[in-house]
């Protein structure tokens, strides 16, 4: 049984994102910073008539911050809010079979929380990234 995945590159790694989580793939325009927000919030950007929260994917995953030059983003909706998840590049959408994470695979940092499985593309394993889990959980102030 296969489902559709978007193959993208984040922090130099190939990842697969369930197509059901992808609203669209866009190049975002000017990003307005959000002072005092957590570092993983790059800022806000306008996407047509909508304001999306731009996520610095590198920082969110506990890796190096995604460079400012990265403009390509996968738009996803989590709990009614639109987020732009910055990605290095996007390859294509293709059907793959969802495989469980190999046992003993030691994922760290954000990869561990956001990685939910594996797909195999021509023998190359790609981590399935749950976009909702990429955005760190927020404890609302007060």
């Amino acid at each position: 049984m296969s489902e559709l995945f978007l193959v993208a590159h984040i922090a130099g790694r190939g990842v697969a994102i369930a197509a059901a989580q992808v609203d669209s793939v866009v190049d975002i325009g000017e990003v307005i910073a959000v002072p005092r927000a957590d570092a993983f919030v790059r800022g806000l950007a306008a996407l047509r008539s909508r304001v999306v929260t731009v996520i610095d994917t590198g920082t969110a995953l506990g890796l190096e911050p995604t460079p400012d030059a990265v403009r390509r983003a996968v738009i996803t909706v989590v709990e009614g809010h639109h987020y732009a998840i910055l990605v290095d590049s996007v390859e294509d959408v293709a059907p793959f079979a969802r495989l469980p994470l190999s046992s003993g695979l030691a994922l760290h940092r954000g990869w561990a929380t956001a990685g939910t499985g594996i797909v195999e593309r021509d023998g190359e394993p790609l981590l399935i990234l749950d976009l909702a889990a990429v955005i760190p959980a927020i404890v609302p102030a007060a």
Binding site: I32, P35, A45, S49, V51, T53, H81, I135, P136, I138
Partner: protein
């Protein structure tokens, strides 16, 4: 509100009624025809019944007696048919349809303003009677139908229009950007300019289609309050505030029923009758204040009355009686939880259900309705003096009048409602000082805290040239910004949790330039910047004059003496419950939320349940000083007679000819022993092993004793403690002897095993009483 405005509002409501009636008439015309063809088919009845019922309901309010009479008569007959008391026959159907037609005619006549005589209406009603003779169809006069001035639209359509509009704005912006990049014919530029103006105007209009002044909700209240209070033989003065706050149309509709219910409850259960009020020394007329305002990302609708409030004890008794909670559960509840019981299903706060507020709809339904739209309801009960109910509903889709401020390279919107004034930092009118490490600004003699947005947001470290005086519910402060750019009406939407978690934003918005912008939350900024306001200080600022010299707070101390303390060390003055103060860990401590700070008190609290404390801060640590009452802010004279001996008194100053002790905050913070005169002294006759000091002292202090190993001059011990094998030193105090063995040696051995804590405490208390 002028009579003219009220008239105009009634017109609006009338227009709405006409449009609605016309629309329903069209919708049920099919049902009417079907029913006419088959009178026995009572399934057709429901739509028609609903129609006359709605008309009847609206008529009462709009004061349309003719329509009311007709619809009432028809409703009665239809109800009888529904209940099976009458069988529908052709005569009955004709009679009902005659009335439905007549209602349509009258509505059209009202709309076009043309007169329509009421002859024949009695006949129409008479035709409904069971024994009525079939009558000839009354000739209907052809009438001109006035062109309708209103259309009813689905909100989805408006939403769609709204998002299309936003797209259009962005397309315009894109076009403008591209044109800027190349050499353009001035004619093209002029066309673009025209397009821009039209688009902006359009956007404004489209945005407004979803918004409605909360007045649409409030306008029906005066009449309702009048009628309800008249019915109950009470007189109530209604005050309406903030009717021009705008709210989403849908939200207004959803708020209608809960608001009506709450107001009826207030008049029925809250406000007392005139005789009772007079006996209580209250003005004869009850006062009901209904207000709307915007606060942060919420709209607050408040209903406050000056009636008797909620009798919590009665609610609790009622809950016990109905078996909603067990008596033990109820006893353990906090006051707030007890008050919350009025929202419990099936609990009416009154023993007798009245016609006004008891219609099977309780506060539980009200709360459910409000929570359904993402709101919440908060009660503030002041028994004997009134009840305040605040409904919080989200701002979602509210249009907001804002002021755009610039800091560094960024722009932020501030709700205009929160802004008191904007002042430039130059000249003598505005002075900025640093008090401790806190910045304060004095504008025309009024001092308030200053928050530099640039520093708070780490955007700009320079001293802000412009101050926006912001007024929040807690207090006023000055927000320093670089520039004030513009005013703009914005549609604000909630931002994502990651953004809201900062606590300083109320939402996000997309202004005309197509760049997202954040709406600042004035109260949130105050909280994040660490500003803390108290009502006491706010009240005293009003009388505060610009005083020369060091300002100090004059206050009555707990021991009755009048003392003074420098104002700069006072963070705030606030009342605290005496319960929150404990003698723990060898010092008096005050719990504030999760924090515990040392407290200094010069005397016992006596019978007080609440005591005012000065919250003192040296910028880093905090302590509290309990006082009886704050008096006023005075200027300290330059001369001071230094105090003798140690202690938290720096010296004596003369204020208005009186000798006033001046508190030495340095000594307080330096950890002067905090002694409380009323704590009983326990004299420990130590044996040199250190056991008493190490093991016993903390236990005793936790139980409210002050332990000393030697008495100071003039000090007397309430009780003394000694080990059985230590020679007893001479003391006037009764002695409790401790033994090392678990069991007593004989019957007359009154000593206590040294680790038997309860017995020890009891023995100390018993000896003390001797």
């Amino acid at each position: 509100m002028t009579g003219l405005e009220r008239g105009a509002r009634m017109d609006d409501l009338l227009q709405e009624f006409i449009a609605e009636t016309r629309e329903t008439l069209e919708a049920i015309s099919g049902e009417i025809v079907a029913w006419e063809a088959a009178p026995a088919d009572s399934g057709r009845l429901d739509a028609i019944f609903r129609f006359v019922h709605t008309v009847k309901g609206s008529c009462g309010f709009l004061d349309l007696p003719r329509l009311a009479r007709l619809s009432h008569a028809a409703e009665d007959v239809l109800a009888a048919v529904r209940d099976g008391k009458r069988t529908p026959d052709t005569a009955l159907v004709n009679a009902v349809l005659g009335i439905v037609d007549r209602i349509g005619e009258i509505v059209e006549a009202i709309d076009s303003g043309s007169p329509l005589d009421d002859s024949g209406e009695d006949l129409l009603i008479a035709a409904l009677a069971p024994d009525a003779q079939p009558r000839a169809q009354a000739p209907t006069t052809p009438h001109s139908r006035a062109a309708s001035r209103s259309v009813r639209l689905n909100v989805d359509l408006l939403d769609h229009m709204m998002s299309g509009m936003s797209e259009m704005v962005l397309a315009r912006n894109e076009l403008a950007r591209r044109l800027r990049d190349c050499d353009v014919d001035p004619k093209v530029e002029a066309a673009l300019e025209r397009l821009s103006l039209t688009v902006a105007d359009m956007r404004d209009t489209v945005t407004r289609t979803r918004m409605q002044k909360v007045d649409a909700l409030f306008s029906a209240l005066p009449r309702m309050v009048r009628d309800t209070s008249a019915e109950l033989g009470k007189s109530v003065d209604l005050e309406i505030e903030g009717a021009d706050v705008e709210l989403d149309r849908e939200m207004i509709e959803l708020m209608r029923d809960p608001l009506v219910h709450i107001i009826r409850n207030s008049i029925d259960h809250g406000i007392e009758g005139p005789a009772e009020r007079r006996a209580l020394g209250k003005p004869k007329n009850g006062r009901l204040v209904v207000s709307a305002r915007q606060s942060g990302n919420q709209i607050l609708i408040e209903v406050a009355d000056d009636g008797k409030g909620i009798d919590v004890a009665r609610i609790v008794a009622k809950a016990a009686e109905k078996g909603l909670h067990s008596v033990t559960e109820l006893a353990a509840m906090s006051d707030a939880a007890k008050l919350d019981l009025i929202f419990a299903p099936g609990l009416s706060s009154r023993d007798a259900v009245t016609a006004i507020s008891g219609r099977g709809v309780g506060m539980d339904v009200v709360r459910a309705n409000i929570e359904q739209i993402g709101g919440r309801i908060v009660l503030t009960n002041d028994p004997g003096r009134g009840l305040r109910i605040v409904i919080h509903v989200p701002l979602t889709l509210s249009i907001l009048s804002t002021i755009i401020v610039g800091v560094g390279t960024q722009r932020f919107a501030l709700p205009r409602q929160a802004i008191e004034e904007i002042v430039m930092v130059r000249g003598d009118a505005v002075r900025i000082d640093t008090i401790g490490d806190a910045a304060a600004v004095t504008v025309r003699g009024r001092r308030m805290p200053l928050v530099s947005l640039g520093q708070l947001f780490k955007l700009n470290d320079d001293a802000p040239p412009t101050l926006v005086i912001v007024s929040t519910r807690e207090g006023d402060y000055a927000l320093g910004v670089d520039t004030v750019l513009d005013t703009e009406e914005l549609v604000v939407k909630p931002a994502s949790p990651a953004v809201m978690a900062t606590g300083v934003y109320a939402g996000k918005t997309l202004p005309d330039n197509g760049l997202p912008m954040l709406l600042l939350d004035a109260s949130g900024i105050a909280a994040v910047a660490g500003l803390r306001f108290t009502p006491v200080v706010a009240a005293s600022t009003e009388v505060e004059e610009v005083v020369p010299g060091v300002p100090a707070l004059l206050f009555d101390d707990l021991d009755g003496c009048r003392r003074a303390i420098a104002l700069a060390v006072i963070d705030r003055v606030e009342p605290v419950a005496v319960d929150a103060i404990r003698w723990s860990g060898g010092a008096m401590r005050l719990s504030i939320g999760d924090a515990i700070i040392p407290l200094h008190a010069v005397a016992a609290f006596g019978t007080r349940t609440e005591v005012a404390v000065l919250r003192l801060t040296d910028g880093e640590s905090e302590m509290a000083y309990a006082i009886a009452e704050a008096i006023e802010i005075v200027a300290l004279p330059a001369e001071m007679a230094p105090a003798r001996g140690a202690g938290p008194i720096a010296g004596v100053v003369s204020i208005a000819g009186e000798q006033i002790e001046l508190i030495d905050p340095h000594a307080l913070f330096a950890g002067q022993p905090v002694t409380l005169a009323s704590l009983p002294v326990c004299l420990l006759q130590v044996d040199g092993s250190g056991w008493m000091e190490t093991f016993l002292k903390p236990a005793l202090e936790a139980s409210g004793y002050r332990c000393v190993t030697a008495l100071a001059a003039g000090e007397t011990a309430a009780v003394a403690l000694a080990m059985e094998d230590t020679p007893l030193r001479e003391t006037l105090a009764p002695v409790v002897t401790l033994r090392r063995t678990r069991t007593a040696e004989g019957e007359d051995d009154a000593s206590i095993y040294r680790y038997d804590r309860p017995a020890l405490i009891a023995a100390l208390a018993a000896r003390r009483a001797m």
